[in-house]
């Protein structure tokens, strides 16, 4: 079970990094982001976009999230006594890794709901992913507060989780495990900050696009190299 928890966590963690890179392509250009979404919809393989491919991936991720959450629940405080014991312990000890776990627990708990909502949305409306589709959802759909919270939660949770995986299974121990651990932690913080900055910028970009596009909600992005074709608009 510990292995499954770790494996699902690792998969989700790596997925989130990838996910962040994909959505952040908006920072490069709307076209780039469009290309990425279409890539995942199989457009470049099949010539047509099948949002169902995305739905399948989303379903897979959702299952992973459920499995991961279910396994992780074993480690949560099971009752008030345990909750009090841990919070008291954390406050008194002032021990970094212990405190980090508490954050991991809290963010994990939050993510369980946030991610479920987000994933459900993606599962049902996979075709809505796109430069304008996403931006409209963020801005006009008033999803941005959720994305903002989720961004912090995910990056903290994932960063801490991946760091913990390394020390838990003894990866990258090297000759001097103490020094490696220090390096791992630095790397962990660096990655978290990097992804937070990237995420904030990305979210900002979507908000900006969404704000500018607020009156045209529903319109889909057309790559700049394509001559507008009315048929494209109707999915």
């Amino acid at each position: 079970m510990d292995l499954a928890q770790s494996a699902s966590g690792l998969a989700l963690g790596l997925f989130m990094w990838g996910h962040m890179f994909f959505v952040s392509t908006i920072l490069i250009s709307k076209d780039a982001m469009w290309a990425v979404t279409k890539f995942f919809e199989g457009y470049f393989f099949f010539g047509t976009a099948y949002p169902g491919v995305v739905s399948a991936v989303v379903a897979g991720v959702l299952v992973l999230v459920m499995v991961h959450a279910f396994l992780a629940m074993r480690k949560f405080p099971a009752n008030y006594r345990q909750y009090r014991a841990f919070t008291g312990h954390r406050a008194l000890m002032g021990h970094e890794d212990t405190t980090l776990w508490w954050w991991q627990f809290l963010t994990g708990f939050a993510l369980f709901f946030l991610a479920a909502v987000h994933l459900y949305q993606m599962l049902m409306h996979p075709g809505d992913i796109g430069p304008y589709g996403s931006a409209d959802r963020v801005w006009s759909g008033r999803w941005w507060p959720i994305y903002l919270v989720m961004l912090f939660a995910v990056e903290l949770h994932g960063g801490i989780g991946l760091y913990r995986l390394c020390v838990k299974w003894g990866w990258f121990e090297g000759k001097d495990p103490a020094a490696s651990r220090k390096r791992l932690k630095t790397a962990k913080w660096a990655l978290t900050v990097f992804f937070l900055v990237l995420g904030l910028a990305t979210l900002g970009a979507y908000m900006k696009i969404g704000y500018e596009h607020r009156d045209l909600v529903g319109e889909r992005h057309t790559p700049s190299w394509v001559v507008p074709d009315p048929k494209e608009k109707a999915p």
Partner: protein, 247 residues
Amino acid sequence: MADGQALRKLTIRILRYNPRVPGDVPRLQDYEIEEADGMTLFIALNDIRDRLDGSIAFDFVCRAGICGSCAMMIDGRPGLACRTLTKNLGAVITLAPLPVFELVADLSVDTGKWMRGMSERLEAWVHVKQGEIDLKRIEDRMDPDLAEEIFELDRCIECGCCVAGCGTARMRDDFVGAVGLNKIARFRLDPRDTRTDEDFYELVGDDDGVFGCMSLLACHDVCPKQLPLQTQIAFLRRKMVKQGTLG
């Protein structure tokens, strides 16, 4: 003091509670003492008991950092009081008994009972080969490096700091703690112990054992003997997963 600083007045704040006194409630009690050069908490506490209050319960044995009796929460963190120098702490020092273990009174807790229970559960002894050892014969040879590796893990003094520092142990009474996992790692390494990974999996291959550990690593960070708990638990976890999945 040697460096010419004026000696400080210290406030030693002790969590007092004697469960055998009817109606007694846990409370913090302050004691003012004068700091001395090279003063440890061993010296400070005995000074308090000799001069100010003979009723405070605490445990010291070797007072040299090798027996593990005097572990307590020092400003919130578990540590050995005997080798904690007051000069490394603030002017107000808060002392509390180790959590998890049964309280005797004040700063004294029953680590012995917990450790014995853990040892019995994990069968924490070398399972010697059947048959008499021939004491007259030359001992079995052992690689010098292996002997050193075993000793490295054998250095545990069962002080309880790792257990008190452990978030899992705080929440779950049956968790064996880093002390227990380290012991299994030690016996696993020892060719004189006849047990196999299958046997060890039976003992620690569950959520009370190595899979209960959340890798918070406080055990590693507070261990007064600097045992390599982080790497040993990781190693044991890999071996136990291998045993659990591949058999």
